[in-house]
Symmetry: C2
Subunit: 379 residues, 2 copies
């Protein structure tokens, strides 16, 4: 695997930012070798842009694409390295440039102790209003670092049970029937398939899939339905077809209609586009059965875990989702997965150039390992 | 310090319970010496009753007393010992007998790994509907154990900042004016005093205290006011007297009246009797400015931290309170204190026979130490 220097060079103003840049190094420079331990160590954040190559053209209700820009981060402290990642699908508004500009502002050397997590992440959050993925890339690297310092994976630090991880769904994108059939066959390992709906071909998609498999399905409407009666009819139809749940059935702005649907729906509804961070979870209470937590939208593992516990406290279900991401962010998200009803952590399986190895899917199930930190087994 | 065997003997049925009992041992048998480390270690819970002797007669709106029964617990695993405690003031319905009966049912040997916290505490919680303090005594010992295994105090594992701990209030009980004056003088070290109100002598109490000190005060009405207009008048009067906040102004059943008061109150209101565990925090949302979290009511540190984050997510303030407790449970509660607006952790300072040393109050402020676990420095 070789890093594309032109990708790195596209990010403007890095050299002037006073943050050391690993962008021109090969990834194996991210190893811990040759680093001298010191008692007065300070945290040092470095980052480099990377572009994920998708195995298939990725189509959702509003767009198609073949690549996803990510920013790979690391925090070094006292000879230990924590790894993080920002994944930035274009519809969320972040780019290599915005992430680099944000990360250049982050000065962790002011904090004496990585364990000062609440203060550190509050500071990172305060640097800009948006940049959720860039913030997550710091949060994940910090968690990886602390887990390694403690010598435990985060699922254990949080007290969760790795025997309770769910199956992950595997997304079958919207496509022509013959391509869909081929994708379902390729997804043989997975116990639950996820189908993107929200177009005028919804029933055709489901029926096409049902021609080749009877596996349980989850559907993500991506706000694609705009009529609540139609949505309710669809949900009843979907239930008959063996669908387990419906994600973001109607536009997030239609809170009352989503609440109306949830009240009547024979399937649980999950808020996705409606959810960013903690305040949106409170707002979703009463309008959806559950929430979809994504590290790249909520600024990382710490807020994700708070959202998980908040949703549980409010009697809501939880799913954990992702963008197209490397095994870094996927492994981080997987640490929460013992506590969720549904997981959609297939993002690393959709790319052809994952630079990491970490938490794996084995026979369709998220399988946590005991590597300290976020669970990266190869960096 | 000597344990009173007669206290221990009062608890019935222990020998038959299949749980090893440390009650007839001296407390220094709780040290880690002479324990052989093993790789196939199982957690072993032991407990012994103890009776706290209060320095002053303790009077609240509904009762007076001079002792508090507690149950001291420990969990041993792989040569490491975690310490816990149940404090059981009589009005909460637990006793040495109920705690012993509950703890005799707890079989931790079925869990291979102490880090399996969510499962372990779910199991403990499932053993009985009530017994919150007895449950907390397991939770605290488990947290102490895990912190020691990790080598970190819990405030750090939670990512909190020990520089943000608040002053603790110190309670001045309801008494005759000359006794009150003496108590205020004895409380010279404390920056915030807490006054129990809710009798027909409320104004007299405050005025008596104001004769001898201008320190900021917090007041705990213990549900003592029953008329909302009277309560609002009192709150305005209290604000003029330099009071910072009002705890449980009216009976917990009067949710609407408490909400009416909170909406109009110039001081923040805190739910105390209205709060037990997570569901009551959700119910208190909109009716109080904040909540008082007590380990003995909420089953321990894990649920307390969830309640803290829940309240924060709902935009509510948080205080952390206590019963009369040893330094064990106080130190455990103090781990959360960097994240609260008010702390009322004086319970160990009110007793004359504290068997432990732990988190201290220095110049009125809760001062965390870096001892791994819950912060016990002497056991």
């Amino acid at each position: 695997m070789t890093y594309k220097r032109r990708d790195f060079m596209k990010t403007a103003g890095l050299a002037a930012a006073g943050v050391s840049i690993a962008g021109s190094q090969r990834l194996n420079a991210f190893s811990n070798k040759n680093i001298i331990k010191g008692n007065n160590s300070k945290m040092e954040l470095t980052f480099k842009p990377y572009t994920l190559q998708l195995k298939h053209v990725f189509t959702i209700a509003t767009s198609s694409r073949t690549t996803t820009p990510v920013m790979l981060t690391r925090i070094q402290y006292d000879g230990i390295t924590g790894y993080g990642e920002a994944s930035m699908p274009p519809y969320l508004g972040e780019t290599h440039e915005t992430a680099a500009a944000f990360l250049s502002k982050v000065d962790l050397s002011q904090f004496a102790d990585p364990f000062d997590i609440e203060n550190i992440l509050e500071y990172v959050d305060s640097l800009a209003e948006k940049n959720a993925a860039a913030k997550a890339s710091v949060d994940i690297a910090l968690h990886d670092l602390i887990g390694k310092m403690i010598g435990q994976p985060w699922y254990k630090i949080w007290g969760y049970d790795k025997n309770k991880t769910p199956n992950t769904s595997f997304t079958i994108g919207i496509d022509k029937p013959d391509v869909v059939r081929q994708k379902v066959k390729e997804a043989d390992e997975f116990k639950v398939l996820k189908v993107k709906l929200g177009r005028d071909t919804d029933k055709e998609m489901i029926e096409t899939i049902r021609l080749v498999t009877n596996k349980p399905l989850v559907v993500d409407v991506n706000q694609g339905w705009t009529d609540k009666e139609f949505a309710l009819d669809m949900v009843y139809w979907l239930k008959e077809k063996g669908i387990l749940m419906v994600e973001q059935p109607m536009p997030k702005e239609m809170r009352d209609e989503n609440a109306w649907l949830t009240e009547r729906s024979p399937l649980p509804t999950f808020a996705d586009e409606a959810i960013q961070r903690i305040p949106e979870v409170v707002a979703a209470y009463g309008a959806y059965s559950g929430i979809n937590i994504k590290l790249m939208k909520c600024t990382g593992m710490r807020e994700a875990n708070k959202m998980l516990n908040l949703a549980r406290s409010l009697g809501m279900k939880v799913m954990i989702g992702c963008m197209t991401e490397t095994s870094c962010a996927i492994s981080a998200a997987a640490q929460l997965s013992p506590m969720v009803e549904f997981a959609d952590l297939d993002g690393n399986l959709l790319i052809g150039n994952d630079p990491y190895e970490g938490v794996r899917v084995i026979e369709g199930r998220i399988t946590l390992n005991d590597t300290p930190g976020i669970g990266l087994t190869k960096v």
